[in-house]
């Protein structure tokens, strides 16, 4: 199914050192990179420039260590290139080239680091991590089972919605309404809500997802 393919597109299979790290450690590393990049410029400009540059180098090395390609790095950067240029220009003009570099390097390092995490961890593992993260909240009245059910429902629904978009586009094209925004979107939303209600009824009929003891 097309929708499923799109969900796993971020993952690049491999057996590198980084792939073999556990999700917890990777998350911890990512968090420390973010803290380093945000906190170090507060100490002094020199420390900030040194730390962010070093972090960026480490992250870029990690990127290739995980077996990821240049294209993937460029794709991550290209999305925000215009904003980076704007930020760089303003920081240079206000605070000089060194500060501008440390700001840009900090953004690049954190973005690329998180890119590595996403590329080296299968989606299933990420979702399991999320479920484990929510578990302790049970003490505060959260309901991890129903939360996981909702997440599963959402993932299952994505292929349906993408399919609905494709069907509606074909239908609109057949009627010569391909450029009509309403003809392209309204049927999708109506189909989606109908689908949600059918799913809700099916769940309720099986006694799933209802709050306990009310």
């Amino acid at each position: 199914m097309r929708g499923q393919a799109f969900l796993v597109a971020g993952y690049v299979p491999g057996t590198s050192v980084i792939h073999r790290l556990s999700l917890g450690i990777k998350a911890l590393l990512l968090f420390s990179i973010a803290v380093l990049c945000l906190a170090s410029p507060l100490v002094s400009t020199r420390v900030g420039v040194l730390t962010t540059t070093l972090t960026l180098v480490v992250v870029v090395v990690g990127h290739f260590l995980a077996g990821l390609s240049w294209q993937r790095m460029w794709r991550a950067v290209r999305m925000m290139l215009i904003f980076l240029v704007l930020i760089m220009g303003y920081q240079w003009w206000q605070h000089g080239p060194w500060v501008a570099w440390s700001v840009i390097a900090a953004i690049l390092a954190t973005v690329l680091a998180s890119n590595i995490l996403t590329a080296s961890t299968p989606v299933d593992e990420l979702l399991d991590g999320l479920a484990a993260l929510v578990m302790p909240l049970k003490r505060f009245g959260a309901d991890p089972e129903r939360f996981s059910l909702t997440v599963a429902l959402m993932l299952r629904s994505i292929p349906f919605v993408i399919g609905a978009f494709a069907d509606v586009r074909d239908a609109a094209r057949a009627r010569g309404l391909e450029r009509n925004l309403l003809a392209r979107s309204l049927p999708v939303v109506i189909a989606t809500v109908g689908y949600a209600r059918a799913t809700g009824d099916a769940l309720a009929a099986r006694g799933l997802g209802e709050p306990e003891s009310s």
Binding site: A9, L84, I107, A113, V151, F165, I190, V193
Partner: protein
């Protein structure tokens, strides 16, 4: 011909609901647990948000963020699901995007998005849907329903754009540049709000009990 059932199950939303059950519902609403239908709606609207970036969007503005139906669906979450469920749907979408599903515009994913300059918009989506949802519950009962819903949608858009500008400035852009970078997307979003209101009106007509809870 006789009805076997009393017909006070509020099938239409045009007649204002009586205040008594409404108030009770309002008082309890903090503790009202969501049923299977609510969970399903939240999940499917989050899926709609995720899917709206996977279909080809319309490219407006100088490079950068492609304009998709994403903000339209964010506004729609508020208009159709109301405050709590709308916020939950957008929140679920953002949460899953942040843990690494490639569901943000441009198939970006993971905590990286928080570090990127357009992070303000992603966070703003949650507040935007909350604002729209809060106002929509009132707007749908108003006499000028379409205008009121549009006002609610615009309020949400303002919140999203303010949040986006704040995000730019935090990442080190000057305020005027940030506003300029933001204003490019405003005309598209206003157009999408008109569309969202038309869709929401159709939906409320097709599924009258969608926004206003059925009285049990």
């Amino acid at each position: 011909m006789s009805f076997s059932r009393p017909v006070d199950e509020t099938l239409s939303t045009s007649t204002p609901l009586s205040d008594a059950p409404n108030n009770k519902d309002g008082l309890r609403s903090r503790r009202v647990r969501w049923g299977a239908m609510d969970l399903s709606l939240i999940a499917v609207f989050a899926a709609l948000l995720a899917a709206s970036i996977a279909v080809p969007g319309i490219n407006v503005g100088p490079a950068g963020v492609a304009i998709t139906l994403q903000t339209l669906v964010v506004v729609l979450c508020g208009l159709v699901l109301g405050f709590a469920r709308g916020t939950a749907a957008v929140g679920l979408y953002v949460l899953l995007g942040l843990i690494g599903l490639p569901i943000f515009s441009g198939f970006r994913a993971g905590p990286a998005v928080l570090a990127s300059p357009s992070a303000g918009y992603i966070i703003g989506f949650i507040f935007g849907a909350a604002t729209v949802g809060l106002l929509a519950t009132w707007a749908v009962r108003s006499r000028w329903r379409a205008a009121a819903l549009f006002a609610a949608a615009m309020a949400g858009t303002v919140v999203i754009h303010l949040s986006g500008i704040v995000g730019f400035v935090i990442k080190g852009m000057s305020l005027p540049t940030a506003m300029l970078a933001d204003v490019v997307f405003l005309p598209g979003d206003i157009l999408k709000n008109v569309l969202a209101v038309i869709i929401a009106l159709s939906l409320h007509r097709a599924f009258p009990d969608l926004l206003l809870r059925r009285s049990k």
